[in-house]
């Protein structure tokens, strides 16, 4: 039996005196897409930031396979909720810089930047500044920045927000490709209709706790009805009725 790519074990985290995560446990395996659902302020972003290593848990641990205990995030490709890249630098340079910071050789990073931008239909934007692109195009560049790291774990915080349906479809296809390549994917989103066919498993977070963690079909079976119904039931009533 192989070890999970990510193991979150009884993590508790408070910020500004408020408990954001309360005894959260979650596992993420290679070749699996896990959807992270929850109402606004449920603790999804804090959970993802804790796995990346940006936040230290107050209790418990979040272990990424292959990472040492002192420095998490080396085996993670991360798309933060708060989008942003250098607005006044050429996009290609920014992508290469971010990749080299993760240990990718400059020549390889340059090739990867070209390839990923082409895949995002932004091949001609490599010399342009980010500020000259539309918001959706900027999001695609940021997604390319995360994917070109080619880490075994992909953490995506609200990847579909603000995208048009065509780009939502593109992003979903890229996430499915990552799963096919054996990567472990955790993505938080509110677009249930996108997650339902895409995810192998869904974890629902509410009030800093994981209130449900099962496959989409199991959730539908347990709560009855659609994923949306399961989500509403899990969040408002805390369990199946």
């Amino acid at each position: 039996m192989t070890a999970p790519a990510v193991r979150v074990a009884r993590v508790t985290k408070s910020l500004d005196g408020r408990r954001i995560l309360d005894d959260v446990s979650l596992e993420l395996n290679g070749g699996e897409i896990v959807g992270l659902l929850g109402p606004n302020g449920a603790g999804k972003t804090t959970l993802i930031r804790t796995i990346v290593g940006l936040l230290e848990p107050d209790a418990g641990d979040a272990i990424v396979e292959g990472d040492g205990s002192r420095r998490r995030g080396r085996h993670i490709s991360y798309l933060p909720e708060e989008r942003g890249l250098y607005a006044r630098q050429p996009i290609g340079e920014t992508l290469v810089y971010l990749a080299t910071l993760r240990g990718i050789a400059e020549a390889d990073a340059r090739r990867a930047a070209h390839a990923w931008l082409a895949r995002m239909d932004l091949a001609d934007a490599i010399e342009r500044h980010l500020g000259t692109l539309s918001k959706g195009q900027q999001q695609k560049v940021q997604f390319a920045a995360a994917l070109m790291i080619d880490a075994p774990v992909l953490l995506l915080d609200e990847p579909f927000s603000g995208l048009d349906p065509l780009n939502v479809r593109l992003f979903a296809a890229l996430v499915a490709d990552a799963r096919a390549a054996g990567k472990a994917v955790l993505l938080s989103a509110h677009q249930l209709h996108v997650l339902e066919p895409l995810c192998d498993r869904v974890a629902i977070v509410s009030g800093g706790r994981v209130v449900a963690d099962a496959s989409v079909s199991a959730l539908r079976e347990t709560y009855g009805g659609s994923l949306e119904h399961a989500f509403v039931s899990a969040v408002t009533k805390g369990g199946p009725q």
């Binding site: 500004d16 995030g73 250098y86 810089y97 910071l101 240990g103 990718i104």
Partner: protein, 397 residues
């Protein structure tokens, strides 16, 4: 994929340096700072030339002595620098023709009252006061010469007229020895440390602004989370401080080159010792690194540019504080205070510089005080990076 922290620091520093020097603001500042200096130097040069021209043209003066009580015995024997005129009108003509700098009308009751009128042109602007002192001294010298004419042997008369014609200054050291001290040595003791301190101030101002701007623009671009997911906060802040300080240093080096090219002979006149130059360079490097770290960390942890500027003003004030106490800490009475300030990191670089000037600090104390400041800088950097991480990431839920 693993990457060594030093390599990450290098990558961040290189990125920051390259992008800082490519900014329009940097290029404008790079060119405008020396241009401003050259412009000011030219203006000062022009005004100095104009003052010198005013003062130089008429080297002579005239004495008008209606009663003849003073000049009668000296007429024609006061040299070509003193004209003896019979009337005020003839002296006025010489003045208007710029053949004399001024003329003095000696009162008929001069011997009893010392009353003299000195007439000079309305020239010199704010420097007229200095010209007045000069006129007064020259008139007094001419009167002394005239009064003593034929009354004393030449050599004695010359000494009475000008008793301090050749003066050499000596400084009595604490061990009782008197050592000669030339004027340019006194000038070097003051101007050397002052110049390097000013340079440090300019460096802090230039680099501090760039560092703060970069840190706040990172926040505006919402890049911090992306970067911190790849680079530890310590490496990120260290790389930024190194890269942006190097960019600021480049700006400063260019400025100093222009300064040296335009004021080279003036610097040579200061007669700075090799020991001073080495120690001053060490003080500058120490102060530059310390304040770059403090400015960078301040920019990183402040929530807004305004907050950052307010916090940074504390560092600026601390850096400049030894200059405010310069009179006190460069005298024997203030030596104790100077020693304390030399060991306090925020005041150490400038205090050590000032003490270098008056020779009250030895090599061991210089090295120790500066080493302590370097250690403080490293601790401030590490603590600032941790604080930065906590401030940036600890706000949201």
């Amino acid at each position: 994929m693993t990457i060594a922290p030093l390599r990450q620091i290098w990558l961040v520093a290189r990125w920051e340096f390259v992008h800082a020097v490519r900014r329009t603001g940097f290029i404008i500042a790079l060119v405008s700072l020396p241009m401003l200096h050259l412009g000011l130097a030219s203006l000062i040069g022009l005004s100095t030339r104009s003052v010198i021209a005013d003062n130089d043209a008429p080297a002579a003066i005239a004495l008008v002595d209606p009663s003849g009580a003073i000049t009668a015995r000296a007429a024609g024997e006061l040299g070509d620098r003193v004209h003896i005129e019979r009337t005020v009108e003839s002296a006025r003509t010489l003045l208007r023709e710029r053949r004399i700098a001024c003329f003095a009308v000696i009162g008929t009751d001069y011997l009893e009252t010392g009353r003299i009128e000195i007439h000079a042109r309305e020239e010199g602007g704010l420097l007229r006061f200095g010209a007045r002192l000069d006129h007064r001294a020259r008139v007094a010298r001419a009167i002394r010469q005239a009064m003593l004419n034929d009354r004393l042997p030449d050599t004695i008369r010359a000494r009475v007229v000008e008793p301090d014609a050749r003066v050499a200054f000596f400084t009595v050291k604490t061990d009782g020895r008197s050592l000669p001290e030339a004027d340019n040595a006194i000038l070097a003791a003051f101007a050397g440390p002052l110049g390097v301190s000013l340079l440090l101030g300019i460096g802090i101002f230039v680099s501090g602004g760039t560092l703060q701007e970069s840190m706040s623009s990172e926040r505006e671009n919402r890049m911090l989370e992306v970067l911190l997911s790849s680079v530890p906060a310590e490496s990120l802040v260290t790389g930024k401080v190194i890269g942006l300080s190097a960019a600021g240093f480049l700006q400063l080096a260019f400025y100093v080159l222009v300064l040296a090219a335009t004021a080279g002979s003036g610097i040579v006149l200061l007669d700075l010792s090799v020991r001073f130059v080495i120690a001053a360079a060490a003080c500058f490097a120490t102060g530059y690194v310390l304040f770059s770290v403090l400015m960078g960390v301040t920019g990183a942890i402040a929530r807004t540019g305004h907050e950052s500027m307010q916090m940074a003003s504390v560092w600026m004030l601390a850096a400049a504080s030894p200059m405010m106490l310069v009179h006190w800490i460069t005298t024997d009475g203030g030596l104790g205070t100077a020693r304390w300030l030399s060991w306090f990191p925020l005041t150490a670089p400038v205090t050590v510089l000032l003490r270098l000037g008056n020779g009250t600090i030895g090599p061991i104390e210089i090295v120790s005080a500066l080493a302590f400041t370097w250690i403080f800088s490293a601790i401030a950097l590490a603590a600032g990076a941790r604080l930065f991480r906590a401030v940036v990431l600890g706000r949201s839920g």
